[in-house]
Symmetry: C2
Subunit: 355 residues, 2 copies
């Protein structure tokens, strides 16, 4: 079959120009002419303002329908100095982005709130230095009125751009240190302490932890909470440190713990994915769960119900975090005062079968 360009050459003997003929869009002026009124009146109808006669209104509405008019956002945001859009910045390498059980929920929560206020969410994934520059330009360019940031890095150039522009923002998780920007998060330390205590109540004697992502606040706080809970009974040798919140690192961490102390009977895994990996390692080593070893996770993600047995874990309110972050940004946009010290959401402990 011929492509349309080839067809045109065969049939009409000329080279078809393939520049996409971007439909020339109707402007407010076209509507005005069609309806026999002025730009101002059309503008009033479009923006639902008073002081328009019934006859003009109907004529304009008909004209809008006829010429297929849609307001040009670029022009509007140029003159209004705002874009009705909020950026959602995810600063994760691609592999983590796919695995992270929370980002999707946060994104949807934020999107729900924003779209309810007729704001558009623009999501920006940063994976390289090049991305950082591009996103920084994008933010500076006035395409968004505010920003929600997931998992910011320390000394993040993006954060600096935001502060410089005084762009309304909200962090999910902890903001970079000394940043005056508001955040929404959970108390990782208290949550880790609570679930570790609950695990201790099941009568376990030798409790260890697979600690992950210690270079982040969340990872470090979960380890701190674990340490808090054990108090005198804390044994640094029973902590396996792995770099990421992943299944594979869970397997590795659990293997290390078993090797160091085969009698271990309780494990706090830094995330559900880590816990799932730990379960795999235990199954391999022939230990039963929760019979021989009790294990608890963190996140209450989709992992928790996919494992056998189902995981006891800390519920992380991802959707709620997204909602609150969006509300925080919208509040700033409306000029409301925001709590400077951040918002912490509840993290109920979900007790299932793994401990």
């Amino acid at each position: 079959m011929l492509s349309s360009a080839e067809f045109a050459r065969e049939r009409y003997g000329y080279q078809m120009v393939t520049i996409p003929s971007r439909h020339k869009r109707a402007t407010i002026h076209d509507v005005a002419v069609e309806a026999g009124v002025s730009r101002g009146t059309v503008s009033r109808v479009v923006n639902d303002e008073p002081y328009v006669s019934a006859s003009a209104r109907t004529a304009i509405e008909a004209a809008i329908e006829k010429v297929g008019y849609v307001p040009n956002n670029a022009a509007r945001s140029l003159v209004m100095q705002r874009s009705e859009a909020v950026g959602f910045i995810v600063h994760e390498p691609h592999s983590l982005f796919l695995d992270d059980p929370n980002i999707g929920g946060i994104l949807l929560g934020a999107n729900t709130v924003l779209s309810h206020s007729d704001y558009q969410m623009v999501s920006l994934v940063i994976d390289s230095q090049r991305d950082t520059d591009r996103v920084a330009r994008y933010l500076s360019g006035g395409f968004v009125d505010g920003v929600i940031i997931v998992s910011a890095r320390r000394e993040d150039p993006i954060t600096q751009v935001i502060e410089k522009l005084r762009l309304p923002a909200a962090f999910v998780g902890h903001p970079p240190e000394q940043s005056p920007l508001p955040f929404v998060g959970i108390d990782n330390r208290a949550s880790a302490r609570a679930i570790t205590k609950r695990l201790m109540q099941t009568g376990r004697k030798r409790i260890g932890m697979v600690a992950a992502a210690l270079d982040r606040d969340s990872g470090a706080d979960r380890l701190a909470g674990f340490t808090d809970a054990l108090g005198d009974r804390f044994d640094p040798a029973l902590v396996a440190r792995v770099p990421l919140y992943t299944f594979t690192d869970g397997v590795r961490g659990m293997c290390a713990l078993l090797e160091h102390d085969p009698l271990i009977d309780g494990v706090f895994a830094a995330s559900d994915a880590v816990a799932a990996g730990a379960l795999e390692a235990l199954r391999h080593a022939g230990r039963s769960v929760p019979g021989d070893v009790g294990i608890v996770g963190f996140d209450d993600s989709s992992w928790a119900l996919r494992t056998q047995p189902h995981l006891s874990t800390v519920h992380q309110p991802a959707f709620g975090l997204g909602e609150r972050a969006a509300e925080c940004v919208l509040g700033q946009l409306r000029g409301e005062e925001q709590p400077a010290d951040g918002i912490l959401l509840e993290t109920p402990i979900i007790w299932r079968d793994s401990a």
Copy 2:
């Protein structure tokens, strides 16, 4: 600790105005004045055009640095009639969005290609009628130069808007029928046929399928491929139909199959999540895999390595689909001719332990 508003009241005795003082941004004109040249020359430097003297260039660069100038994208896209952004539309209910193993990969693939060409990706999640209207307005408003659409619906108003605006677009999966728009996808039918044949080669006698999402092309095609492969041996009674590509529906579908024919020894599950559910049901029924029953999935998602045993499955090149879709849109933006009949990507069969 006092909030900044309270601090101001205490310290200076007045009520602080909390309207966020959006930093007045420097314009091209400010730079021109600072550097002692005209707007035009500054514009030439910013856009890297020739015919600028060395002295003017250095003066302007210093001025840009000094006043902190960043071009205003709204003004730029107004005059240039383009935004350097491409929309990524996901038309799924929230619950599916979180579970779908492919969307994340498609998104990252598209983002990689787009950002490499200095395009911005704007992702738009549609979950309700209200969202549809908002996104339609957004597209019409000229905020994006092109669109990538994942899982469009038939008679989709979004699709109609795109055709009306002649917006360069690419579908991932099948576009709505009779749509002239290009698409990138896989051959679900051929892939299903291939893996079913492979399953038959393992010597299974009674092969069934847990078919899901038959209201979509992908679901219907996978069932058709299964039917193709079995030929005369196809038994309609050995097909369990479930609504969604989910773990839970996999459990249900497998239970139905077992109830209908306890001697079943081979199963093609419409997706890996469905296969994982089927494994759960089989474990519950006391059947071993692959001993008693061989089972294969579809997608090669993260599920495939989380199950015990690991799944034999069809690899779906999610990242590649996203890349190709983005290339297709960028090609149209450059005015290149695109293949009208769509692009199908390879789907290698990954043979592991479940069959």
